[in-house]
Subunit: 354 residues, 2 copies
Amino acid sequence: MTASTQYLSNLAKKASPWILEEGAYRPVVISSRIRLARNLAGHLFCQRAKSDELDLISQEITKAATAIPAFESAAVIKMEGATLIERTLLLERHLISQEHAKGGRSRTVIIGEGEISGIMINEEDHLRLQVIQPGLSLQDAWSQINEIDDSLDDHLNYAFMPDFGFLTACLTNTGTGIRASVMMHLPGLVITGGISYIIQKIRQAGLTVRGIYGEHSEATGDLYQISNQITLGQTEEKLVATVDSYVRQIMGRELNARKQLYTDSRIKAEDVVYRAYGLLSQARMIDSNESLLYLSHLRLGAYYGWFDFTPAKVDELMMLVQPAHLQKAVGQDLDEVQRDTLRADLIRKTLGCT
Amino acid sequence: MTASTQYLSNLAKKASPWILEEGAYRPVVISSRIRLARNLAGHLFCQRAKSDELDLISQEITKAATAIPAFESAAVIKMEGATLIERTLLLERHLISQEHAKGGRSRTVIIGEGEISGIMINEEDHLRLQVIQPGLSLQDAWSQINEIDDSLDDHLNYAFMPDFGFLTACLTNTGTGIRASVMMHLPGLVITGGISYIIQKIRQAGLTVRGIYGEHSEATGDLYQISNQITLGQTEEKLVATVDSYVRQIMGRELNARKQLYTDSRIKAEDVVYRAYGLLSQARMIDSNESLLYLSHLRLGAYYGWFDFTPAKVDELMMLVQPAHLQKAVGQDLDEVQRDTLRADLIRKTLGCT
């Protein structure tokens, strides 16, 4: 067993440490994430570069990253050496993107202590740095990532032009190269039917709304990722503040919806939550999407204080029931029925039901 | 409160007494029922008769019926004096048909002690006599109904022609005027997917398959009513024996399907049953169809011995959760949300969950 196989096996058995940490507005905001897209001067963009050059890029960035404090005890995992399940595991933990999980092309991920900071190498850009924090903490994430970015800049020669800012493979990232995104849990707006209007408004404001696994993914488990679209023409601070401000507005509406459900449609709220609890505590097989749907309702019940666990505890379960997590945790490939059975067992056990 | 209002209120609070009685093959066969269609000589058929004549028919039959031992302590309920909820209550207990539940036209129902025997007056025919028994007991039901029919014949002048047998309003009933029907619970065949083939075969054999509420109703709760189509050219004994024989074949297939589920797809069987249990024991609102679906799965679990209650106990609940039962039991009209809430409460309470 290689070091990274061992590292990934350990990952699969527990949720990311930050999941169980406190955070501002945790009942509505799961996490805040900022990523910066950077490329190295003197190299072709990933799409054009041949494998030797990609290899060189990977080496250069890995060397620079592991030289700075943020990544001194980091795990370095090459996609080429990782199995599909391992790559999917990293995707399920939001440490890499769907694109990166395809593997190949000298793609690498560097994961800092506690999975707070990470670097994808040779995804769309040479380097994509991210910092993730529990709850609504974009400002904090920005300070952290800005510091790491400065340190990296000391060791690398970023492609940068004063007129454009940071150069990126895709024009939409040019400028600051920043994407600030917040993962929100919006069951109140989904149940009361207000969600479509909100999504429309967020999009009109120039923000992006995505599902749990980023680009092109659906909003399973009432989880919505809100992020900025533009990266050019504004400072990072301004862009982060804009996302933060919209997230606070959506949060206000979600809290209102939850309150409305609680006071005006109490039986409906209880019915949705307790049905989810009944199902999760009794099902013998459950697929990924169905479990996320019911865990979402359970999380709402935890917010209302109807159970003896917190919403964060449900977040932990949401991470662990994902297909690659289940398989990597038991150390073997499972077919669908085996996965669905194991998932149901894990949920029942966690809820204290046999 | 009139005597029949009081009688119906009492009915609504408990299932029909025979529901909790023993019976042959109860886990698969809920009940066996035989009805005889009869008309009085010297009167127009119901469809052609004017209201004075229908009234006369009703009086004649009521007088004759209450004069014989089977109906000496019977309840006599006129549809014209009954509310929609009361008529629906009688339909839900299989004491009257959907047609009869429409009310009006001097329609009356006479209900013998314990709801075993009954007479619908002025439905399609002047008189429809029925006897119902728990489990598979068509022979027994036939003996009982034959005796009652003979007694009634002493007091009434049945329309009968030696060449045709008993004359009836609809030609399909002419001859013996008999319909032998058996209510079967077939979750095994539904879950394993064998049900469509069985239904096709039963129909090819000249038998009729209907849902829980008779003609034109759907098979909710995996409940199927199997009955004879033809009534002419064969003795009653032969017709009853034919239905009985087909029911035994279907029963064999259902028991095989249940065994197959239990041995080959145990996890699937447990999943279906325990999900139903989880939902029924936690839902705060549940509509009639959904509750029948899950109660059907719960009944299968009771058959497997996974719960501390019998299939018959589930039959009792299936009867009591019906809309008119719920409303008549609390003595007031309820809107849909109120009914669904009351139904969920009743189910949780019966299952010992709060």
